[in-house]
Symmetry: C2
Subunit: 464 residues, 2 copies
């Protein structure tokens, strides 16, 4: 139970991956927390703060974890951080970490779902605790991983920490898995979980074109050379599937989650959104439909850009910031915001998990809930639909006809001043309807000869 | 370690106090979580949500704590909730809970620092874990309590939960004591921790006079008949002393914390604040001064109304809402917001603590940090100073003279249009200076014959 019993000797860590986050973890553990002996803790470079001796109260409860091995692809490659050879051995063969009986805990920050998966599974099977930031690995193998963790935990108390996998820097996993909602009933959880796209949307709101802002984000290092995982919403999809499991106990297979990224969002959509007192954010949503009472029906999980009222808590996440809103029976609305990503925020979450393994406060069951709540990802919402067309007669009538024929009720039709009669836009907002209805509506409208391209649709968050 | 070992039999709870919060705790434990056998869990009244069977996944890991006794002052008094006599005995003698060897955990929601203190201490000494919402009790006896908890925990693993004592509904204690910042260095923590005064200030911003809004808050049940603890800032003072201990490891005796409430704030201050792009919030602050580097000097803890820029995260807490902002080396700014108070939010935090005691994830050390950081509550800030005077000649010169003679540098002098030459206001804003300087400045200015009453001063949060 107590840390003393755990730490007759220091917790020994094997670090797999020495990139941005790995470097941050190394600096915090070895410098600030004194894993390197503490002598260098007065000139740590971790974070933005100088760490004068008077800060060392943060080195608490005699916990001095130490990183004994780092596994990298290329040992000769220069690093952005100093690796202390007296404490840490650089290796290129992951087996030399997995098979090292002296290593208690493996930190996986290599990324990917093949090599990383093998390393994580093998480490757990070898009786080592694992801390990872790998949301894709967790989301794609959720039930299998939970089963494996349960087995190794029962056998020899092995722990699994993954705070850094969702909104690094925001302790949302700790909050959801740590019992804060055990006496509560969560109705809905929504997250802005991807700093890159949040930054891009913020720039588009200022009028910068999508392709231009993508280039800028790549130049700044916010976006990858291949930005697919971010801009197509795959990163958010993995994260919301993890938050859905923690909030509702239901495993929603990642490939079944409707996922729309930001590639179809254009500057004109922000103009229409503004006219409605809204902004646009890429949001992962897990929400229960209403059946007998409020939020007691099937669970819907989806990723999509959404129209967010300017006074809604989620509108407050700007730049690369992340935000998570939880709506529950006891608390109503709770908001958690923070940096969400970056070297030290993500490293901070990994170190927090390491320290909880060290002092045995890391929960035995990383995903405590399980349930048989029905899944229905054909979610319901009011929708925003933008139709690009060549100006002509009878367009509104046609739009109305198609909507009516499908029993889809229109809330309003908006029209920014037409500047080019050959390429105009109109926006239809709907009353609450199903995703499948909107998709069908768009398919039919697209076939009309006056329509220039597939309509763009987004769910709308109601007035706050 | 695992819940199964803990729960060969259900966790038995003695509840001291059956008021608003106690009733919420009883409903959640006995109805929703099935402590009453679960039969009634499908018609729980807890929270706003109906609890259909499909919600029962929240009754996880075979945890069925049960409240076996409730201690009340008057057993005949009608309750706002149903007490099930088959499971729960109503008692009026607290000893019958403390001495009941069948009771594992005592929940104290009676409040106060005399009877409640005796009950909490006695329960701990009897080897019972304690969960309490009593911030005054904790703050006034912090080191003594920590010592006692350490002893009983070492002897027999007794735990102490107090999530509900600060910002009930916001898991800030869980976040700070649960290791989320163990690899980080906290520079500053600021909290809007009192829903009553936040509601009142919001109304005053709309132009409602202090005395009027106080009456309204009392009528609505937001404010007590004796509102002193809220409006004089004593409630926030207790809470910020707890957050300071968790953030910096330093015990700051409550009576040494400079504490100013909202009784001197007037509608005119909001007019001046607005002209500076600010609002006014009652804020508990614990911050480190800068010595060699940033935030590496002495710790200052204080309670005061503050001018908050409208784009600062703390400005987002409206109505009775609470908000906590943590500034740290790894994360920069993180914001946690939630209801902060009320029956179910506070009860939710108590139940979360109970469940963490039940599954042994409650930290052994509720206050994990200790440090020898110097305390200097003569804090530094830019200040807002409002001077009420009879209009006349040479006032600005006199104000300038006094400031200059004290080496206090003036940033600006603001003047709303004068409507009554016999009772006018002017506002002086200062560059960064010490609390003691501003107090001395106000003492001297007050002696000038043109000054009508003691000047009102508030620290200002810099532009965000």
């Amino acid at each position: 139970m107590t840390s003393s019993s755990q730490l007759a000797r220091p917790l020994r860590i094997g670090l797999i991956g020495a990139g941005t986050v790995g470097g941050g973890v190394y600096e915090i553990i070895m410098n600030r927390l004194g894993g390197g002996g503490g002598s260098s803790s007065s000139n740590t470079t971790a974070g933005q703060s100088s760490s004068s001796p008077s800060n060392n109260h943060h080195r608490s409860a005699n916990l001095h974890p130490v990183i004994t091995k780092i596994c990298v692809r290329d040992a000769s490659k220069p690093r952005t951080f100093h690796i202390d050879p007296t404490h840490t051995q650089i290796v290129t063969d992951v087996a030399s970490i997995i098979n090292d009986t002296d290593i208690d805990l493996v930190v996986e920050v290599a990324g990917g779902t093949t090599f990383a998966k093998d390393a994580v599974y093998a480490s757990l099977k070898m009786g080592k605790s694992v801390v990872t930031a790998n949301k894709a690995l967790i989301a794609e193998n959720l039930d299998e991983l939970i089963g494996l963790i349960h087995d190794v935990n029962t056998k020899n108390g092995v722990k699994f920490g993954y705070e850094a996998s969702v909104c690094g820097g925001i302790p949302i996993i700790h909050t959801l898995s740590g019992g804060c909602y055990k006496g509560d009933i969560i109705n809905e959880i929504m997250g802005i979980c991807n700093g890159t796209t949040n930054y891009m949307l913020g720039k588009m709101e200022e009028g910068v074109d999508y392709n231009e802002v993508l280039k800028e984000a790549q130049a700044l290092g916010f976006a990858e050379a291949d930005p697919t995982a971010d801009v197509e919403g795959h990163d958010v999809r993995a994260k919301i599937s993890i938050l859905a499991k923690l909030s509702f106990g239901t495993t929603v297979p990642v490939h079944t989650i409707p996922c729309m990224g930001i590639t179809n969002v254009s500057v004109i959509d922000f103009a229409y959104a503004k006219s409605m007192g809204c902004t646009i954010k890429l949001i992962g949503t897990a929400t229960r439909k209403s059946q007998f009472g409020e939020h007691d029906g099937a669970l819907s999980v989806y990723v999509s850009p959404k129209l967010v009222p300017n006074d809604h808590p989620l509108a407050s996440a700007t730049g690369c910031g992340n935000a998570v809103v939880v709506n529950s029976a006891n608390l109503g609305t709770a908001l958690y915001t923070g940096p969400g990503a970056g070297r030290y925020p993500t490293a901070n979450s990994i170190v927090a998990d390491i320290m909880r393994v060290a002092d045995s406060t890391c929960p035995s069951a990383p995903f405590p809930l399980s349930s048989s709540i029905e899944i229905d990802n054909d979610y319901e919402s009011a929708f925003y639909i933008r139709i690009s067309f060549q100006d002509g007669l009878g367009i509104v009538r046609k739009v109305g006809e198609v909507a009516e024929s499908m029993g889809m009720s229109i809330h309003s039709i908006l029209q920014q001043p037409i500047t080019d009669r050959m390429a105009a836009d109109t926006v239809v907002t709907t009353e609450a309807c199903k995703l499948s209805q909107v998709q069908e509506f768009c398919n039919r409208i697209e076939k009309e000869d006056f329509v220039l391209c597939p309509p763009v649709f987004m769910p709308m968050i109601p007035e706050y």
